[in-house]
């Protein structure tokens, strides 16, 4: 019997219309755990690096993490993996919600699509019965609308549906996959889904998920349940409201947006409004939010309330979470009411709420600069909000200028030319970033921004505070119950970290400490992404219920595979290194590893080079960011170094 996992994958060949249920190798679980780790292994083995993202040979993998479907609190994530049309590197985007557990209960750990369907289809997984069904009647339908239509059509209200909207169908590089209150939005995976001709995947399951050592496992779950309210009653003082508690940022609950509106950038990530927030705006926004927010809701088996049902009078209901509440608002220099309204349309179209507003603001900036002309923008309304709706409609339909903007700021700037490249200023590895511009270089964040495989800061930051606490008293108070640290030395790093003076950014934390802090934070994300655990209860917040000390017992008691901290660290390193290898094989090099030029006002080129040198070494990579033969050997991945050597990426003598 297999524990925690089902031991089966669904293999769908869309070109031939073939469906297979394939038993998986338990050894892979021991090596990679599941989720992101195993996805990377499949991509490495089966998709040659020359493959174009929109090739039938590209795979689109939907995985439920290893512990999804078990009672592990907050473990419900789907990890979607493919090659990104935007970065051309490995894309992994994830979503919470209810889809992944349903897939496990249907008896599968993942669905692997290959080929391309000649017509728009949807997949219906109902336990052992799996069908490819015609979706031509759903062509052009909104993502949320599609989910409802499919449930009605199947007469199965309990089916969980992940769907794309018009953006995915039209292969827009910012296209998301939507699923109820959740979405897998980053890196254009919705475009790959549309390219393969998949409108949606509906799943319903009524089978058991087994636990190897039930009593121990439930005891651990109960400890997490006990800890969450305790932690809830002790918000971390001295940090911005969304970082004080657990969960993914509680944007739906909180109305105080002083921090975001005054520190994040408006428009095309350039304009800071230092004195924006006042009592009047606070009251107005509070009223807006409370009027449209029907209920705070969660994902499967999680007590948090990170999302909300949003019903704006006159437009259909949708669900929202996290920061998309403000991305449209701020990109358009508008207000919260506009943000909630346009997000509804954007959710139905299925687009990434981070990249899309920035792409539109970028387009308008180019127009104001005269790089895009009246002819390019023919038909655009004159009011600000109207322009955003107009651009959104053009982008998802790939009409006129929308066809160019649909490729994101990097590729659009290349196509437009005439100096447009300078306006695509907020990218890492061709991918739009949070609209955040700061003063002094932070060495830890420099490394995370530069080297994160997903090119998305929230996917690597977390357990270590973002900034030093001003007083020793606050620091001592913080480290008092900081049990999550993998090593006591991290407490010292924090205690010694000052806002100003000798022990402050950019030279403190020191290079060595910075490497260790980044490595710890990243490790936690890689564990979460293999298990399907929500970062909001683990790698993202300060002092979370899941950490490196209780994770080994969770995994061991659920799966029956004996793992200790060292073993878990080794698996994580293997997964991390394999992702790097996948991307290296697709051309990623040191030269690509840099934050946006203007991310910090004060930059330190010499220090930054040293940071990268040290970090690569720390990770067991060579000075170009390529894993060395020794590292790969130690991780049991000689097959990777052989391949890299054959391609001349790793030189034989270099080792």
């Amino acid at each position: 019997m297999r524990y925690a996992e089902t031991g089966y994958n669904l293999e769908i060949d869309l070109s031939r219309g073939n469906i297979e249920r394939v038993e998986t190798d338990p050894k892979l679980t021991e090596l990679h755990l599941g989720g992101l780790g195993t996805n990377a292994k499949i991509l490495w083995d089966r998709v040659p690096p020359e493959t174009e993202p929109f090739s039938p040979d590209n795979l689109l993998i939907f995985a439920a993490g290893l512990l999804v479907g078990t009672p592990a609190v907050g473990c419900n994530r789907t990890i979607v993996t493919t090659y990104s049309p935007q970065t051309l590197l490995m894309a992994y985007s994830m979503m919470g919600g209810f889809w992944a557990p349903e897939l496990k209960y249907a008896g599968y750990d993942r669905v692997i699509f290959r080929g391309k369907s000649p017509n728009l289809i949807y997949l219906w997984i109902n336990n052992d019965k799996v069908e490819i069904r015609d979706a031509s009647h759903l062509c052009g339908k909104g993502a949320v609308e599609t989910e409802e239509l499919i449930r009605q059509e199947l007469k199965e209200p309990k089916a969980q549906v992940a769907a794309i909207g018009l953006a995915g169908e039209n292969r827009v590089y910012m296209a998301s996959i939507e699923q109820g209150r959740s979405s897998a939005s980053r890196l254009g995976i919705g475009a790959v889904m549309g390219d393969k001709g998949i409108k949606a995947i509906a799943v319903r399951g009524t089978k058991d998920i087994n636990i190897a050592r039930p009593d121990q496992f439930m005891e651990l779950c109960n400890e997490v349940l006990k800890y969450i309210p305790v932690r809830d009653k002790k918000p971390v003082p001295g940090v911005m409201p969304i970082l004080a508690g657990l969960g993914s940022p509680a944007e739906m609950k909180l109305v105080d947006e002083e921090w975001h509106t005054q520190n994040f950038m408006w428009g095309n990530s350039r304009t800071r409004k230092k004195d924006y927030w006042n009592k009047e705006i606070e009251e107005k926004w509070k009223e807006t939010q409370e009027n449209v927010r029907t209920r705070l809701i969660s994902c499967y088996n999680c007590p948090m309330k990170c999302a909300a049902t949003i019903s704006v009078p006159g437009i259909s209901t949708y669900m929202m979470k996290c920061f998309s509440k403000l991305t449209y608002t701020m990109a358009a220099f508008s207000d919260l009411d506009f943000g909630f309204r346009i997000a509804q349309r954007a959710t139905e179209y299925g687009v990434d709420g981070f990249s899309t507003p920035q792409v539109m603001a970028f387009g308008l900036e180019l127009y104001e600069a005269g790089i895009l002309t009246d002819q390019d923008m023919a038909g655009m309304p004159s009011d600000n909000e109207g322009r955003f709706y107009w651009l959104l409609d053009r982008i998802v339909r790939r009409e006129g200028i929308g066809d160019i903007l649909a490729n994101g700021t990097y590729w659009a700037a290349q196509q437009i030319g005439k100096g447009a490249e300078a306006y695509a200023h907020n990218n890492i590895k061709k991918h739009e970033q949070l609209p955040l511009k700061l003063g002094m270089l932070n060495p830890v964040y420099f490394l995370m921004y530069s080297t994160g495989e997903k090119a998305n800061i929230t996917q690597i930051e977390g357990n270590f505070p973002q900034a030093p606490f001003p007083t020793m008293e606050e620091r001592e108070d913080f480290v008092k119950d900081w049990i999550q640290v993998p090593d006591e030395k991290f407490k010292k790093y924090l205690l010694d970290w000052e806002p100003r003076g000798e022990r402050s950014n950019p030279y403190y934390p020191t290079i060595e400490m910075s490497c260790e802090i980044v490595d710890w934070q990243e490790k936690m994300h890689y564990i979460d992404d293999a298990l399907g655990m929500c970062a909001g209860l683990s790698s993202f917040p300060l002092k979370p219920p899941y950490h490196i000390h209780n994770y080994p017992a969770f995994i061991s008691s659920a799966t029956g595979i004996d793992i200790d901290e060292a073993g878990l660290t080794q698996i994580t390193k293997r997964n991390r290194t394999l992702l790097r290898a996948v991307n290296v094989r697709r051309g990623l090099r040191r030269i690509d590893e840099k934050p946006p030029e203007d991310h910090w006002k004060k930059r330190f080129p010499e220090l930054e080079e040293k940071l990268l040198d040290a970090y690569y070494k720390f990770k067991g990579w060579n000075n170009d960011g390529i894993p060395t033969k020794e590292t790969l050997h130690e991780l049991g991945m000689d097959y990777v170094s052989e391949d890299l050597e054959q391609r001349g990426i790793l030189k034989n003598e270099q080792g």
Binding site: P71, F98, D208, D215, I228, T294, I297, C302, P303, M304
Partner: protein, 179 residues
């Protein structure tokens, strides 16, 4: 008849506090797995969350008695502008729906308030509901002591009422011969 004290176990359901997470289903199905906690599967849970997020319908319902046949007429309720089917509130394991039945055998399920040895402080669904949509209360009620009739006796009594004692006895005797 004399009065006796009886302990009544009550789960209070506050639907306004429900965040829709279905942890109650997870905990219930894990508790009732054999061996305990060895598996989980919401389809086996004795509490189900009727959940329609876009309509803001969240209704935890507990498994009650087995019903042989579905009701003929069905009513609709409108509460706070939300339309509910009568079935949404019904606890029965009934042929009209797939709730409260073992998914493989189809056998009916019924909430037992997590009877356990040693006893649980509260049913598992309540323990796992950190949002207090489900809370547990025990109250004592004074009830009149009565002779509890066996199920068969209740049935027979109603037959006797309807057809008379002699007819029922004749019928039983004839049925006994056939056996």
């Amino acid at each position: 008849m004399s009065k006796v004290k009886k302990k009544v176990k009550v789960i209070k359901i506050d639907v306004d506090k429900c965040n829709g997470c279905r942890a109650c289903e997870v905990a219930c199905s894990a508790f009732h797995a054999k061996p305990k906690y060895s598996s989980n599967n919401p389809a086996r849970s004795r509490i189900r969350l009727i959940r329609e997020p876009l309509k803001d319908k969240y209704l935890p319902v507990y498994a009650g008695e087995y019903a042989k046949a579905e009701c003929t007429g069905k009513d609709k309720y409108v509460i706070d502008g939300k339309e509910y089917d009568e079935c949404d509130f019904c606890r029965a394991s009934c042929p009209s729906r797939d709730l409260f039945k073992e998914p493989d055998s189809g056998l009916p399920l019924k909430c037992d308030m997590c009877e356990d040895d040693p006893p649980q402080e509260k049913p598992l669904c309540v323990q796992w509901c950190l949002n207090d949509a489900l809370t547990y209360e025990e109250r004592e009620e004074e009830v009149e002591e009565e002779v509890k009739l066996e199920d068969v006796e209740i049935g027979l009594e109603s037959m006797v009422d309807k057809y008379g004692l002699q007819k029922v006895m004749d019928t039983v005797a004839r049925m006994a011969k056939k056996e």
